[in-house]
């Protein structure tokens, strides 16, 4: 008769103590975030040190420009765990604890997992639904995993987080719509041309927003990139940085015959591109459409140009409005993302409940065997007339009794169904039998 329930926590602890401490863009200034940031090596060193000091059994450090967070699992510690982690965090970075007062959050158990899943879903990001955090999370976890800093609990938690991030982005609109003026302009151009790979773009002006658009275009492997600016040097500087070609301001009209996308963000009082100029450019292109993003204030493109057939014109206000609409649309998707998070937390809770309840059988078995041994020793003294064979039989019978008593609970735990809602009962059992005494 076998009664042992497979328990991945056998080598760690019977009770899962998961905690998180950290700060992000909402709680800490950029100066403080810079001071508590971890390099890749520091993150692994910190995980090693935490385990060496016995503070944690498993550790993952997530450090990005917007957050520094330490996730850990300890065998023991209870409420003191976050204290110990914070103590380590401050000493690692050479900070006084007072400096972190009110700047750090501390979560444990379900709250820590909820926070991590929200991070993975992009709900805790500066820009709601941004995708970069999921890659950063994957890297941080992957490095910790390769380094051997994780264990069954953090593996389960982080794999769940990655799944949450993926599902939220594929099943909701949280990350779907562009949230910056630059990205909105490029995404709209994609609605006209499809894949922008190999297309030609003309950038008029060398301002910061134009540069953001260029960056987005480069991500999409744009073919030709021409930069025209009143100051040729600035045009050449931008062109060199982005791998494009600079052209003198005087050649602007001739440059307009080629590009599919024109981005203009130059200063001045009057329009830089008139209706006639654009009409000539489109005619020279054989009527192929042109997508114009006018980021200038005052506008760089004559308003009458919006009526040109084959021309799609968006100015900064149009794009701003689209971004605002998208922001609202993303916010409206948050409840759906939260539902996915709740689903995955429930999955983790079930897993955790099964494991924790599984450990109680082991602990009960240990306690029963201990009592059995004491009882047998007492009876040995009380009944000296028993032969060695009878004593041996009595020992076997009591052992079998313990295994029979524990068999059914172990089988129910092996199935794991409905354990999530019975964690309170498990806690009560531990208390009644004093299973945590002496640990």
């Amino acid at each position: 008769m076998t009664t042992a329930t497979a328990n991945p926590l056998r080598n760690t602890s019977s009770r899962i103590q998961l905690a998180l401490i950290g700060c992000n863009h909402r709680t800490a200034s950029v100066e403080l975030r810079e001071r508590v940031a971890f390099t890749q090596k520091q993150a692994l060193d910190a995980a090693d040190e935490l385990r060496r000091q016995g503070i944690l059994e498993e550790a993952v450090v997530l450090s990005t420009c917007n957050r520094s967070e330490l996730y850990g699992v300890a065998g023991e510690g209870g409420s003191a765990l976050t204290e110990a982690m914070e103590e380590f965090f401050t000493s690692f970075h050479g900070l006084a604890r007072a400096e972190l007062a009110g700047k750090f959050y501390r979560w444990s158990g379900r709250d820590a997992i909820y926070h991590l899943y929200r991070v993975a879903a992009g709900l805790d990001s500066m820009m709601l639904g941004e995708a970069e955090i999921l890659g950063q999370l994957r890297t941080a976890y992957g490095q910790a995993l390769d380094h051997g800093a994780t264990g069954p609990v953090l593996n389960r938690v982080f794999q769940g987080a990655l799944e949450v991030g993926k599902r939220v982005r594929s099943e909701t609109e949280v990350g779907a719509r562009p949230m910056s003026v630059a990205l909105a302009g490029v995404k709209l151009a994609e609605r006209v041309f499809g894949n922008l790979k190999g297309r030609a773009a003309l950038i008029i002006g060398a301002g910061a927003v134009a540069e953001q658009v260029v960056e987005q275009l480069r991500h999409r492997a744009i073919g030709t990139l021409q930069v025209v600016n009143r100051s040729y040097d600035r045009a050449a500087d931008l062109a060199e940085r982005v791998g494009g070609c600079a052209a003198p301001w005087e050649s602007l009209e001739t440059q307009m015959n080629q590009p599919d996308i024109i981005v203009t963000s130059t200063g001045g009082t009057g329009p830089v591109l008139t209706r006639k100029m654009l009409e000539r450019a489109i005619t020279a292109r054989g009527g192929r459409p042109v997508f114009v993003v006018d980021l200038g204030v005052p506008r760089n493109v004559e308003s009458a140009a919006s009526g040109i057939y084959s021309l799609y014109l968006y100015n900064i206000d149009d794009l701003g409005e689209i971004v605002e609409q998208n922001k609202k649309a993303r916010e409206a998707e948050v409840p759906r993302a939260e539902a996915i998070i709740s689903e995955h937390i429930a999955k983790f809770e079930t897993w955790r409940a099964t494991l924790e309840a599984g450990s109680i059988v082991d602990d009960l078995r240990g306690r029963f065997h201990q009592q059995r041994q004491l009882l047998l020793e007492e009876k040995d003294k009380e009944m000296p007339e028993l032969s060695p064979e009878e004593r041996h039989r009595m020992a076997r019978i009591t052992e079998e009794l313990i295994e029979r008593v524990l068999y059914e609970p172990a089988e129910r735990l092996r199935n794991g169904r409905g354990m999530r809602g019975r964690l309170g009962a498990v806690e009560a059992l531990r208390h009644i039998f004093g299973l945590d005494e002496g640990k």
Binding site: E171, T172, R191, V192, G286, G287, R288, S310, D318
Partner: protein, 271 residues
Amino acid sequence: MTHYLGYLSLAIYAASFACYARILYVPNVWLGRVASLLLAGGIILQYYDLLERSRFIHTVPYDDLYGSMSLFAWLFAITYLVLEIFHRQHTVGAFVTLLLIAWIGGLGLLVPPQSVTPPPARGALFALHVTLITWGYAAFALSFVLSLVYLVQDSLLRSRRLNSAFWRFPALDVLDQMARSSVYLGLVLVALGVPMGLVWAHRLSGGYSWGDPKVVVTGLILVVYVAYLRLSRSAQWRGSRAALLCALNFVIVLFSYTFVNLYLTRFHRFF
């Protein structure tokens, strides 16, 4: 004759539509693949439904309205699936399958499928002629749907009313390419099908029925679609005007398929 396969294919097309419609709002690569697989499944089932009908009448189902329109819907679905695979685009599927369901469902309600009698034997060449022309018309129907989607997308872009589905629609350029591919296919099929019909008629009567309204309208269809292909690459017509032209051209196809067949032609009056 039982039509449970036809009803089953309709149900699978409906499931395919549900998946295609879902990916308009929630992007999911796998769901797109499931939608395509369901569409392919519906096509296979409808094939067996048509095959059963063909065995009964000993030719392709062209002679009765139900059979002819069912054949049209089946070829329409095949054409779309081929274009979808070629252009790697799932986002038009919702419109195409919706039309497919409406077509087959409406057909089932309006025309009792039981009323079928085998037509006079006309031979394999005639069957091939009818199939190619019907397939060509189905391809034109697809270009009509794609052009309508193009016009909606273009209108949304210009009016800046960018709803959730807008970001999932294929790009204008992709829609334009798909519509053109569909028209090219339609032209090739009709251009192949017409001579076969002429040869068959010549064998039967010793002459060519050039003056038959069906032949005249089919010639007109070829002309307007060739004109669309040429104009859609010209500076003045490129884009939404060409899409509108393509959509309007389909009115002539519908006219040919319905009014001409029913009232004008002598040689092509089947149902």
